[in-house]
Amino acid sequence: MNNILALAPLLIITIGGLFILLLDVFLKKDNKDYLGYISVFFLIGCSFVCFLFWNTNKSYFNGSLILDNFSLFFSLLLIAATFLVILISMKYISLQNSNHGEYYALLLFAFAGILIMLSTTDFIIIFLGLEVLSISSYVLAGLKRNDTKSSEAAVKYFLLGSFASAFIVYGIALLYGAFQSTNILSISSGFSSSPQPGVMAIVGFGFVIIGFGFKIAVVPFHMWTPDVYQGAPTPITAFFSVAPKVVGFAVLLRLLIPYFKSALESEAIFSILWVISALTMVIGNLAALRQTNVKRILAYSSIAHAGYMLVAVLAQDAVSLGYYLTVYLFMNIGAFSAVIALNKKNKEYVELEEYSGIGFKYPWIGVTFSIFLFSLAGFPPTGGFLAKFYVFSTAVRKGLTTLVIIAVLASLISVFYYLRIIIHMYMKEPTLDVSIHTKNPALFLVLFICLVEVIQLGIFPGSILSFIKEALTTMSLF
């Protein structure tokens, strides 16, 4: 019975998804907004259940399902993300003619996949969750059926995504061959018990990292990101930029924490991650410089941010990574919401040119967007700065000074392109006549929430930070 209860968060979301699919059939076209509210309702229910399990730290189904604070924290984080994404979608999808019931159902299914991935230590189950997440994502990317760019995004995402999944499966198989287990914990204890792990184990481990490197979009596995982010419906882009990344890092943490504990600093995986992190920061930021499409700029910026987060992974600091992910969630969804705010019937404004003079024409959107951009660039007193401060200061303490120097120089590059958007918004005369649909209370609520959080996380992170600490130090593996 306990086992069934432990499935509650997952069941709520899955039932919610199915219910919405069913309800979609009976609802008139004008009333589809209700589906959004209903899915929000299910998400809130799920978060309550997550809180019920807080601090219980038990495993169920013979260890296949684990509800510890680690998984619950990341689940709650992603509930927040999905919640915000649904709110920014409601008006958007009716304006962009993609108001289908499947939209919300697929989002919930994707989230169910995320829940599965977070609450297990078994690779097979992680893979199951990953596929649930990925397949929903492929469809979501292509939901703007009349837009070729959207279809391109879906196909690209599908091809490269399944390629990455294949890597993960192959890696899991090799690891199974080496250690006769698919459980992360026994694999890592296998790593730590044998001083010289075989080639098979190293290659398998590397394949798994490559697969997840694709999901969190790090260089050189980032090629899909800009195209998919550009083509997908913007709220889905916001979802893509946050959800797979958070999940990917959560799984990487589970995977790497025990590994690092036993690993020497000179080990292969460590240096590979080091190089990937440096490359991600530098290339992500450099590539963003030449973009003229705001969604693409934000895509490259999210690649670069994955690089900063890898610094936290290398510094073996789960708390600062958790903090970074929290801040990143709010500032990135906030930035995308600001982009979504600038749309009207069948038209989105995403080119830099179209942003000229927006700052004074729509002052509130301009101000909030600027604050999100300053936060992404890491200016104090926003959350973005404090997150970088925590990550980089821990990294220096752990002796990663060179990497931190690369990181700060890369973030210097990033300042340039974030400022470019602001330059267009405030310092150029408007060239085009931009008019937007302003009646969108849910979206403005999201902008407000994100704004408050970004500033709160920059100045008074006290309660959230201690929550993160409580969640991530109970793993007690650091």
């Binding site: 004074f360 200016f379 980089f392 700060v408 120089l409 210097l412 330059i423 992170p461």
Partner: protein, 528 residues
């Protein structure tokens, strides 16, 4: 109950900015009046700092310290004789700056004043912070309003200038951030305590080879801000493109943040590295003096002439600071205030001319004094203050600086006098071409002389110039204790690090117990 007066002075402008946010933008006169009143009020409050400041002690005063984020990140504020006057300079100039842009700013009046107020908070915050984290927050946050001020209300190449300004400043400050991380972590490793308190680092002895790198990172950030010779190229651009008020704030206060950074951080925390780099830095400062002066001579644009004069004057300030004796350091702090007043005033003068003719080129003027006699008197006084005429403030600062440099290095002293000669040359020549001679441009004939508002801008500055030139004592004596303390802090740490056994030290160098602590810390650091 203790009134947190530093917090009030720092955050009153920010609170005001928040208030302005809710005033509809059509009511621009209300906005301007509120901002002006608020900034005058802030100045009056900051005067309390001056009168209640105790000149006998070098310890930080008006200290406020609260736990903030843990891990050594505290809300820690306090001032000493060095920062006191820089804060007063900021609060003194703010109402003047607001008044000067009363008519000049016509578009987006509300946003302009909001950014001005945020900028004020940022600047004052830099001077009052005693925690490196807090300092860095203000140091970086201040870039944002300045970026908008230049970028929105600036001249033709404003976007280029503002991006250059931000990127230049960020290169330095990001590397400084890494150095701060390094300091933070090595302090933790040596003592087991997380701290970002500046005074903890003053006591903390760092191995000289590490000091070199950390010093370079800090020095680069501050040298860009000052700006010292090879890093000065952002300054003329930023000055030329910025609106008058932006230029005034930039010249008068922002540049001082770099010099202040050297005094507060780079020099006392890394005395050994300072000793190594001192000759190079002095030479760079000297090059700045001469190069800035020569460049000013050939400028066609009045604003960039004043900007290059800034480079030259800041060179003298830095050179004096690097002479490391009480006269020179006090002279350099005093000269910072003078430079703030006189260069700020010169930019105001340029702004007055620009509002009338909408050109900054020297050749478009000529004979202005015939139509604007009152203005010409003010302009003359400001210019002579910048040149260093006895009786005006510039003289006192320059003479102290040169005397101080002379005590340390006679050759440098002789060469640095060229700043005064060059200043006389380029400023007087500029004055001659702009204000005197026949009227060549017909537009000049229609110039109106200063109105009451514009006179009110200059009167307080000019009164203060005379006061500081004739009676500098109330300023200098408040600095004595802090400067002496600073110099002492730079000296004995060197002795300790040369690892002279304590018993062999002569009596007059007997190190107090605090330094014995340091010797232990060094050993700890050296032993892995």
């Amino acid at each position: 109950m203790n009134i947190p007066i530093l917090s009030i002075v720092t955050f009153l402008p920010l609170a005001l900015a928040f208030l302005i946010l809710f005033i509809p933008k059509e009511r621009s006169t209300h906005i301007k009046t509120i901002v002006l009143t608020g900034s005058i009020l802030n100045f009056l409050i900051s005067l309390v700092l001056y009168f209640r400041f105790d000149p006998q002690t070098a310890a930080p005063q008006f200290v406020e310290k609260w736990e903030w984020l843990g891990f050594g990140i505290n809300y820690h504020m306090g001032i000493d004789g060095i920062s006191l006057f820089l804060i007063l300079l900021t609060t003194f100039l703010m109402p003047i700056v607001i008044l000067s842009s009363w008519r000049y700013i016509t578009k987006q009046v509300k946003e302009y004043h909001i950014f001005m107020l945020i900028l004020t908070t940022g600047i004052i915050g830099v001077f009052v912070s005693l925690n490196l984290f807090l300092f860095y927050v203000f140091w970086e946050a201040m870039l944002i309003p300045m970026y908008f001020l230049i970028g929105i209300w600036g001249g033709g190449r404003r976007i280029y200038a503002t991006v250059k300004f931000v990127l230049y400043t960020m290169v330095g400050s990001l590397l400084m951030l890494v150095a701060i991380f390094y300091l933070y972590s090595s302090y933790y490793k040596a003592t087991g305590i997380f701290s970002l308190n500046i005074f903890d680092f003053h006591q903390f002895a760092i191995p000289p080879n590490v000091q070199i790198w950390l010093f370079l990172a800090f020095a680069l950030a501050f040298a860009i801000k000052v700006p010292m010779f090879p890093f000065h190229t952002w300054l003329p651009d930023a000055h030329v493109e910025a609106p008058t008020a932006g230029s005034v704030v930039l010249a008068a206060v922002l540049l001082k943040m770099g010099a202040y950074g050297f005094l507060r951080f780079a020099m006392p925390i890394f005395p050994d590295a300072l000793k190594i780099f001192l000759p190079y830095l002095s030479v760079l400062a000297l090059i700045g003096i001469i190069y800035g002066g020569l460049m000013a001579l050939i400028q066609k644009d009045i604003k960039s002439l004043v900007a290059y004069s800034s480079v030259s004057h800041m060179g003298l300030i830095m050179l004096a600071m690097f002479s490391l004796n009480a006269t020179a350091v006090e002279g350099s702090i005093y000269q910072m205030l003078n430079h703030g007043l006189s260069t700020g005033a010169l930019f105001l003068c340029v702004g007055i001319l620009y509002e009338r003719a909408h050109t900054r080129l020297i050749k478009d003027y000529g004979g202005v004094s015939k139509v604007m006699p009152v203005f010409s008197v003010f302009f003359l006084i400001c210019m002579l203050s910048s040149v260093g005429l006895p009786g005006l403030n510039g003289f006192v600062g320059e003479i102290l600086c040169v005397f101080g440099v002379f005590q340390t290095n006679k050759v440098l002293a002789i060469l640095c006098v060229s700043t005064i000669i060059l200043a006389a040359a380029y400023l007087l020549w500029m004055f001659q071409r702009v204000m005197q001679g026949p009227i060549t441009n017909e537009k000049v004939r229609s110039f109106k002389d200063l109105n009451l508002r514009e006179i009110m801008i200059f009167v307080p500055i000019i009164l203060l110039m005379f006061f500081m030139g004739i009676y500098p004592k109330p300023f200098l004596r408040k600095m004595d204790a802090s400067v002496e303390h600073l110099l002492k802090k730079i000296q004995p740490k060197q002795v300790v690090l040369e690892e002279t056994p304590l018993s062999k030290l002569p009596d007059d160098l007997q190190i107090p117990s605090q330094e014995q602590e340091n010797t232990r810390v060094i050993k700890d650091v050296n032993q892995p």
